[in-house]
């Protein structure tokens, strides 16, 4: 993820940005496959879930819930919806950049929206504008990788290694640490990040489920945009006064 002054080939950039992230997803996929199998799900069902749901965290929670035979299906579906609620916010922030895109492509873009493809595409958007080829390439890499790795995990999971020997819940945050850095471009964005950190920790401590992600993001964006507004006013005032100086 080097910062180039030229945008380069979007497909090639997308491949070089998304494929390393697949490496971090691999132990996660194997863990999902093993947990799913121990929940009594059949290989085809596990792959179907990866292809139709395509949301690792919620799939992991689902197969964990299904370890108990008596869990109501509706509860699994509702939990999935709650964990994936953050996509709504991600979609709202991405949609304005696709307003000129045909609806069918927007509908396809929605399918490929995962945390990783969203983060990569929005980061590139900051520098070069939103690029559908870049976004869809990332999405295709993650979709193919997640589906294939689910299958590989089912077939060879036990032979490859014990994924639970790895700190799985550390690998994903470490990946997101890299993905968040390009967004820290100004002091309002750093302030927004700090706000999100505090709000998310407080939320994780006191709110049920995964609500803390959406709520922290909403509050952080409010603080960031308020800071930007204040900064813009300050700049405007300074420009006015320096303009007056310049007129002497």
């Amino acid at each position: 993820m080097r910062t180039n002054s030229s945008s380069g080939d979007p497909v090639r950039s997308a491949l070089s940005h998304s494929i390393p992230i697949i490496v971090g997803i691999t132990p996660f996929a194997i863990a999902y496959a093993l947990l799913g199998a121990s929940a009594g799900l059949m290989p085809g069902e596990l792959v179907a879930m990866s292809m139709l749901v395509f949301a690792g965290a919620s799939q992991m929670v689902a197969v964990t819930m299904l370890q108990e035979a008596a869990v109501p299906v509706a509860l699994v579906v509702v939990t999935t919806a709650l964990i994936n609620l953050r996509h709504l916010l991600m979609g709202v922030s991405m949609a304005p950049h696709l307003s000129g895109t045909p609806r069918r492509l927007q509908a396809a873009a929605a399918f490929f929206m995962i945390d990783e493809s969203y983060a990569l595409a929005m980061n590139r958007m900051q520098r070069f504008g939103f690029d559908l080829r870049y976004y869809f390439t990332c999405g295709a890499v993650f979709f193919t990788g997640w589906s294939l790795l689910t299958g590989i995990g089912i077939a060879f999971g036990r032979l490859i290694a014990d994924p639970f020997a790895l700190p799985l819940d550390f690998i994903m945050p470490a990946t997101f640490l890299v993905l968040v850095m390009p967004f820290l471009t100004s002091w309002p964005s750093v302030l927004a990040g700090a706000t999100a950190a505090v709000a998310a920790v407080v939320g994780a401590l006191f709110l049920p489920g995964h609500w803390y992600i959406v709520i922290a993001a909403v509050i952080a964006a409010g603080v960031g945009s308020a800071a930007e507004t204040v900064a813009a006013r300050g700049t405007a005032v300074r420009q006015q006064s320096s303009g007056a100086d310049g007129a002497r």
Partner: protein
């Protein structure tokens, strides 16, 4: 494949897809006022930070700050690598190595 499991998977897929499409539908229906557009530019940093920080600081529903929190210490190392290199493999690799080293040191004491 069993019908009831497939039905559950399709329902999970449907609610997930709706969560992904919902943002597009909202923007199409209501547009984006300028104030909201400015607000939206800080959503990525908010979401990504919220995905990272609690996993490093909160363990089993409790705030965990201290030298015995290996994820926190390794996370700080990983954050420095991430900031300086923007390299996913290096960040995850060094972060994992830090977690293992801390676990090894921690178990030796």
């Amino acid at each position: 494949m069993r019908a009831e499991v497939l039905l559950m998977i399709v329902a999970m897929g449907a609610v997930t897809y709706l969560s992904r499409l919902g943002g597009f539908l909202l923007v199409r229906a209501f547009g984006v006022p300028r104030v909201v557009a400015r607000w939206l530019t800080y959503v990525p940093v908010g979401i990504l930070t919220a995905l990272v920080v609690p996993t490093l600081l909160v363990r089993e529903g409790r705030l965990h700050i201290g030298l015995d929190n290996h994820y926190l210490l390794a996370g700080i190392v990983a954050a420095v690598i991430a900031y300086r290199t923007r390299n996913v493999l290096l960040t995850v690799g060094v972060g994992l190595a830090a977690v293992f080293a801390l676990q090894f040191l921690g178990s030796g004491v």
